[in-house]
Structure formats: C-alpha cells, structure tokens
C-alpha cells in the first residue's frame, strides 16, 4: 500500500517536472524543473532497493550535472525566450510514442520469450552498497576502469575546449585590446 502511494506520487511529480522541462520557453525554468525531476527519480531507486544508485543519482545529477549546467548557462543569454521548431504536432507525438514503445519492446522481449535467470543474483543478508561493490570490483572491473579513463578524457576535453583564453579577462582590459581580439576572431571565422 505504502509502496503504491509512493510510486504514484513520485510518478506524477516526475512526469510533471519533465513536461515542464520539455515545454517551458524559459531556460531557467527548464533547468530548475530538470533538477527537481532528477531528485524525484532517485526516489524510485530507493523504492526499488537500489540505495547506492539513488545516492549516486542525487550526487552526480543534482550535485555535478546541474551545477555544471548552471555554470554553463552563465555563458549563454538565457533570459530571452527560446524559439521553437514549427512542426506537425501529431507527427512529433506519434513518432515519440512509437519509438518509446519499441524501446520497451526491446526490454520486454527477452523477458517474455524465456525464463530469465539472474546472472549475478543478489546475496541475502548483505546490504545493497556491499553487493554493488562486490559485483563492480570483480565482474565489472574492466568496464569500470574504462569508464574512469573515459571520464578523464572528457575532463581534459572540457578543460581544453572551455578553458581557451580564460587567462585574459575582458573586464580588466581597455577598449582597444578588446577590439583587436574581436577583429582577430572575426578573421578566423570568416577564413
């Protein structure tokens, strides 16, 4: 009973928040609604007994990803209204529903066709975090290391891409220097 109430409450909240994210014309509203939706999704993980995954969801998504988006939005002009694509609404909604149903069919087909056996079954009397550690550092050690290398590469790429010319500050320069830098940039873009 309690589980059902929690499920329907958080399902309603998550769908509402993501609808706001998708349909709002203000980028700031979309960002806030997305952050709220991420926290509500972690509630499903706690209901499902995946405690560690829920904690990771909160830490990574609302702690790191949303903070990064918020800092990134300082570079962009987010106060103006976002322009939307003008397309046929029925085509968009129809295609989205079709694709989503196909994704669930991909998930459900192996479950329906055979009796699925647990590959790495859960151990009784051991907490979720300990189970995750046991499986992650034995069976999934190589994917884990590869994911670490991928995150390192992404960090280096982010620094290299966004950190260009971070050493010179536009507020501390005089007008002629800024004009010269802009001219150089325009030349680069045109060539």
């Amino acid at each position: 009973m309690f589980e059902a109430v929690a499920f329907y409450l958080f399902a309603f909240l998550t769908i509402t928040m993501f609808l706001i994210t998708v349909l709002s014309s203000q980028a700031l509203y979309a960002l806030s609604a997305l952050a709220a939706g991420m926290i509500f999704i972690s509630a499903f993980f706690f209901i499902l007994g995946a405690d560690f995954l829920g904690a990771v969801q909160i830490i990574v998504y609302t702690g790191a990803v949303m903070a990064l988006y918020a800092f990134g939005m300082m570079f962009f002009d987010t106060t103006r209204e976002v322009k939307e694509k003008k397309g046929n609404k029925f085509i968009i909604i129809g295609l989205s529903t079709l694709a989503a149903v196909m994704v669930v069919a991909i998930f459900a087909a192996p479950i329906v066709s055979t009796n699925m056996q647990a590959f790495y079954p859960m151990i009784d009397g051991v907490g979720n975090t300990q189970q995750v550690g046991l499986v992650l550092f034995t069976k999934y050690l190589i994917p884990f290391e590869v994911a670490a290398v991928m995150l390192l590469v992404a960090m280096v790429a982010g620094i290299v891409l966004a950190g260009k010319k971070m050493d010179l500050s536009l507020t501390l320069m005089n007008a002629e220097d800024i004009k010269r830098i802009e001219d150089e940039q325009n030349k680069k873009v045109l060539s």
Partner: protein, 101 residues
C-alpha cells in the same frame, strides 16, 4: 494494489516519450541536452526495475555506466557549446550550417 514490473516499464516509456518530444521540438542546443538527460534517466528507471524484480545486479551496474556516460557527454558537449557561443553569439541548431549539411 501491488506495484509490478509493468508499472515501472510503463513509467519508463512515458518519460522516454517526453524526452523524445523534447528532442524533436527544441531548437536551442542547451535545452536539447536537457532532453537527452531525460532519455537517459528514463532508461535508468527501466534498468533498476528489472534489476529489482529479477534479483539481478546487472541492471544496476549498467545504470551506473549510463550515469558515467551522461556525465562525460555533458562535459564535452558543454565545452563545445561554450566555444560555439563565443564565436557566433547563439546556440540555435538552425544556424549551425557551416558544413552545408
């Protein structure tokens, strides 16, 4: 009323459809990134639900890797967006036609 696997899969479908609608109607690249985050999270719910109802930890493992991929995709994508915005002053998808695609 008992909540079963189908409930979670239907919720996952609904969230995935919302994300796809977002991808198809957004023109601003930053908001397009938001829609991809919704897609990844919808799939994560499906993974966690299957992991719970079949007593198997593989689903949770894949959810972790999906989160790692989402984080690294965001770092690279946001860096590229900042570079593009510094050069051109906007991040609309329709203006990115320098490759005449």
């Amino acid at each position: 009323m008992e909540i079963g696997l189908n409930h979670y899969l239907i919720l996952s479908t609904i969230l995935f459809a919302i994300g796809l609608v977002g991808i198809m109607r957004r023109k601003n690249l930053l908001l397009l990134f938001f829609a991809t985050e919704i897609l990844l999270n919808a799939v994560n719910i499906g993974f966690a639900a299957i992991s719970h109802y079949y007593g198997d930890l593989t689903g949770q493992m894949f959810a972790f890797f999906v989160i790692a991929i989402a984080a690294s995709e965001l770092a690279v994508g946001l860096g590229l967006l900042i570079v593009w915005h510094k050069r051109h002053g906007n991040i609309d998808l329709d203006t990115m036609t320098s490759m005449r695609g």
